[in-house]
Structure formats: C-alpha cells, structure tokens
Symmetry: C2
Subunit: 207 residues, 2 copies
C-alpha cells in the first residue's frame, strides 16, 4: 500500500499497535472498537474510521481478530520488516537505548553498537559488542543495517550522520539536539528532549 497517510493517523496506528500487542499478550483473541477506545483516548467511531481506511479488518458487531489486526497494522507501519538498528554513541543515553526493550517489542533488531572511546570498544551490552566507529561503514554494510540511532554529543552528530549516509542507511533517529543535514532519500526523525521540556515549562508557567 503506497498511499500516504497523515502524521496524526500514523501516530494513532502506532498507538493501536501497542494496545493490540498488550491485548495479544493478555490472550485477548477478539477485540471491539469499544475496548480499543477504552485503552486509548479515542472514540470507537474514530477507531472504526481509522481501521476502515486500510480495508475490511473486522466482523460487524463482534470485533477485530487481535492477531490479524496487529499483523495488518504492523504491515502498514512497516513494523513486520524487522529493521536492523545500530546505535552510535554508547554513553548514558545510548546505553539506555541499547537496553530499550521496545526495540524488540516493535520488531526492530539491535544489530550493532558503535563508539569512538577505546575504553568501551570491545565491551558488550547484553550479547552485542561495541565496535569502533571507524568500522561503521563496513559493519553497517555487512550486517545490512537500515536504521542508525545517533546518541553522540551535538558537535559530532553531523559527522556521524554523514558516515551513516555514506554507509547506506535508510533512516536516522537523532537524539543530538542539533539540526542534521541529510539527503532527501534518508528519513530523519528527531527526538528533541530539550524541546519537549521547554513545552512543559511553557504550559506550567501559564498557570
């Protein structure tokens, strides 16, 4: 399916995916739009409308087969592709992400870790060894990694983005608080923690 859906709709689908994943783990085989509504903030009408966009998922008056719906939403979001992920910069944040269980829960496979610090190169996070960032291009190509997560300091982030681009990744998840320049064909998602914190500050100060 190549239709472009709105950012807001993708966000809702990602939320449905999570809710359904929990329901699946609880052994819920059939789930109604009312139940999905109760677990999210959306009305059953909104949910049925969203899900109808992607074809006929449900059984009228009964509900949706959890596995089937999960599989279909996973396909739409590309989460069944088992994207391979590398993290560059294994400091506090990179280390926390290397331990982030939602990678696996969402079908991502953590496949390489990189750092430039001799003191951490060669050590392991779970079973994955931290490699020298000098070998980034070679390893990204060999392991067919599609997503790079940047958790290096601000001043080094563009350099790492260039290395990742050169190595042929398809997407970059950037945690460095800086504007990265990447070619159009590379998808960049910025995780801007300081900005969200500023947002919270603004709302609080208006009270």
């Amino acid at each position: 399916m190549k239709q472009i859906i709105s950012k807001a709709a993708i966000e809702r689908l990602a939320l449905y995916f999570r809710i359904l994943k929990s329901a699946q783990e609880e052994g819920v085989e059939i789930i109604s739009s009312e139940e999905i509504g109760k677990r999210t903030d959306f009305t059953p009408v909104q949910i049925r409308k969203d899900l109808a966009l992607f074809g006929q998922f449900g059984m009228k008056g009964v509900g949706y087969f959890t596995n089937d719906l999960l599989n279909k939403i996973g396909n739409i979001l590309g989460l069944n592709n088992h994207w391979k992920v590398a993290i560059i910069g294994i400091g506090h944040l990179g280390g926390a992400l290397a331990n982030y269980r939602n990678f696996a829960n969402n079908g991502f496979k953590l496949t390489a870790l990189f750092d430039k610090d001799e003191k951490v190169i060669g050590s392991k996070v779970h079973d994955l060894e931290i490699s020298d960032v000098k070998d980034l291009k070679k390893i990204i190509k060999e392991r067919e990694i599609q997503i790079g997560v940047i958790t290096v300091p601000e001043a080094e982030a563009q350099g790492v983005a260039n290395l990742l681009t050169d190595a042929g990744v398809k997407g970059i998840w950037n945690f460095a608080p800086t504007k990265l320049i990447v070619p159009n064909e590379i998808h960049l998602v910025n995780e801007d923690l300081a900005m969200d914190l500023s947002m919270l500050s603004y709302y609080i100060s208006k009270n």
Copy 2:
C-alpha cells in the same frame, strides 16, 4: 504575558532559545534574523514575524541583542523559573536523564531522584542521592519540586503519577509507554519513543 500561542510557535521559540544559547556561548553579542535563519530551518521573515509577536526585540537593520532576546524568550517559555525536577525510576533511562546536561542548560534544576530498589537507594548520581520512593511526597513538598519525570516500567507509571499528583507537582514528563490519567491542572508531556520509532519505520517502508 498570558496569551496562548500555538504548539508550533512554542517549538520554534524553543529552537530559537537553543540557537541563541549557543550564540551566547560563542560570544555573539548581536545576531541578525538572517543568522538565526542560517542556524535553523526558518526564513528570516518567519523569524522576524515570530519574534515580533512578543514585542519589539530588535534594532532595525542591525539585529537582536543576544542576551536580551534570550532572556525574553526564556521568560515566555518559563525557562527563567528554574523549575525543580525529580526523576522517578533510576534504571537505564532514568540514569541517562539524571546525567542529561540539557536540564541545567535550559534552566531546570534536578533536585531529587527516586527508586524503589533497595540496591540503588542511597547511592548517588553526581551529588544527588537516590531516595526511597516511599518518601516521595515528603521530599517533593520539602524541596518544592514542580516537575516529575516518570521513567518507571509501564505497569508502575500510573501509580507514580498518582503519587506525584498527590505531592502537588505542576507537570509530568512521562517516558513510560502508557496513557496516564492525571487531573486537568497537571500538565502532562508524553515522550513516546516507540511511537517515533514506528513513524520512522512507516516512512522507511514507503520507499
């Protein structure tokens, strides 16, 4: 100033704040909208329009006084309030956030850390001791903490949100991938990493 500005405008202001902070550190005393434009992705016209919303900041044909502008944007965003912050759940992510230098850069003061694990209670991150979550209410009140950061597992997040509400915080920054229910007067910002990762997956899979 009690006027309500859009979420997009707040995001731009937060970005200007960061850019100006860097410029200040570089010793730039006067900065033009062209220069701010070069460091962001916005046109000088957009920038002048945004800044004009909040009164007359600049000198026509010269630029803005960096310190003055930084101070005014900081006031608008509430970043000059020196909000006191507590982190609850000092695992990988909570630990990474406890080491997050942007708290201080943005005028936030990390004032308490909490965990329920006997093994970490009493140990320190920099100079701040990890307290028992049982003492949360008392410590939040004593230290006049306004913001709670939730980095506990999903299943415990609502319980912690309730404790924070009861202790009287004004805002919650939630990293647990779950929908929290809090009273209207508490501002909640969700940091939904799994959702952003799903977004990236969607964009990549459309290529």
